[in-house]
Amino acid sequence: MNHAALAEDFIKDKPRAKWHDETLWFVRSKRDKAASALPEWETLRECAAQIKAHTVANLAHYLEQFESQATKRGAVVHWAKDAAEHNQIVLSLLQSRGARRLVKSKSMLTEECHLNPFLERNGIEVVDTDLGEWIVQLAGEPPSHIVLPAIHKKKEDVGRIFHEHLGTDEGATDPNYLAEAARGKLREKFVQADAGLTGVNFAIAETGGIVVCTNEGNADLGVSLPALHIASMGIEKLLPRAEDLGVFLRLLARSATGQPITSYTSHFHGPRPGAELHIVLVDNGRSDILGSEEFRRSLSCIRCGACMNTCPVYRRSGGHSYQTSVPGPIGSILAPSRDPKTYASLPSACSLCGSCTDVCPVKIDIHHQLLTWRRELNVLGLLPRSKRWGMQGMSYVFRHPRLYQWAGKLARLIVPRLPRFLLYNRFNAWGRQRELPEFPRQSFREQYEARRHEQQK
């Protein structure tokens, strides 16, 4: 896939691209407002970064502690090496209990594993109950943002989707009306469900519990009626102790949407009486990233989406232009880790502005890792030939000062005299929307040298 081409497509509808950019910038500014209300914001970030570094450095220990504690509480802990194994475990749990209807709250891990199509192929009805996820599910699209899945949809789009699938009034766009229709339909699904699946925002090793955060209450509704609760969890979601949650719950919602906390922050310890809780721990490449000194810190990610909201490129190209379950800056580190060939263009979908690193609640050095990925891709031979040759050529010129000076002099002599059609054509990407700089007669060093001469006289 090529991010630049997909981004160009996205921008073709300029008013829509501007609307997308402004909508996400607004979420960034809400984050700023919420963060500024806590004088200890930067201290919290530092604590969170250290807690995650400590957890990752002792991951095996904490995983075993979590498994032991969770099991004591009556949960069943499963381990899945990869996406396929995760999907099979979930399917087996459903099939063995005769469950045909599943309700799901938001889980980017299950997107990563492509769980929905797998379950549907095997005769399970899957309903994504997060409203944004349900909208894109009905539209037959993947989510475009990890926290705001339908951020790319206008209310007119939602009105059309709901008219087609729910029978709401044609042309209706009022969010209250549309949300009310969704409420009615989804509550039916909660009541009819045989099983509920959630993701896991945080898991606590010390207590064996899992934490799920929502605004809609859909996770709680989804698992409190059916007798089976399946929780899918990446192994990096662990925290050592309950008190660590104090730090993370103060950072998460403020970073994600500018709220002090989500409406529901649910801590599940074992199943409720008469029901079952199954927790599926998933590796799917995470233990490989663990071994990388450069990219290990990307495992600290708490999936808040702040990097996406602040990224000037993401805002102007949309989540779908990344073609991966987690898009944006952090996704541009994670996706190449899994498949460098397919995602080679992602680390360059970035101007290295560094805003992502400064908003990240766990202080992942996102833009530095993106830069490191560019080097890795070069080493893997995945850099486009034109870039490689261009840089080899430039490096040669820059190693030879007199050649460099002559090249500059030649350019300054010739370029101003070239006719426009030679300078501005389809070979000149710079010139599509920009004028080339004016080429001066003298370079700085020539002027400086001339001045030095004058002064010596």
Binding site: T23, F26, V27, E40, Q50, I51, H54, V56, A57, L59, A60, Q69, R73, W79, K81, T129, D130, L131, L148, P149, K154, K155, V158, P175, N176, A179, E180, R183, R187, V191, G209, N215, E216, G217, D220, L221, S224, L225, I235, A242, G246, L249, R250, T257, P260, I261, S263, Y264, T265, S266, H267, F268, H269, G270, R272, L281, S287, D288, L290, G291
Partner: protein, 196 residues
Amino acid sequence: MSSRNSILKSIRAQLLPAAERPDLNRDWLRYPDPWAQFQTQLAGVGGQAVRVANMEEVTASLALRPEFVAAKEIVSTVPGIAGNIDLESVQDPHALETTEWAILPAQFAVAENGAVWVTDQCVKHRVIYFLTQHLVLVLPAGEIVHNMHEAYARVTLGESSLGLFMSGPSKTADIEQSLVIGAHGPRSLTVFCVGD
């Protein structure tokens, strides 16, 4: 080798630099008037916090609401507030789908973010917290902490199969970022703080 063992083996094979846990014993933000902070925060997320002297005042306050007065199915597990559905005698939680009002206990409030801590320890069917159309939580007066660090010092995670921080009614902004109160869960949340 089981997936469990191969994952753990794979993790243990990596040489990782040691990293210490940070000390979380710090002077975290506290408020001069925690109740006022709580009220403001809860109002900001579409909920309501009301201070009352006793249970009679709770009943009186609820009686002023037309939707409460007209309600046909009310669950209450709070002594002193009458409901007409006995939660203990409900066998199947699915039957609670038509509950209009639920008056339930909460343990303490968090000033920082307008949240209250509730657990499923004293309710037979925890889904009632989410399935009801309107939710009323009752807190003993003075049960309030300043921030989330104090909150986690106060709870004992694992005591109940579900413990949650609830801040406001359910909501969503998934339709073009327009805030809609009352997504899938309760449409309203009122927190009564009872006593001196």
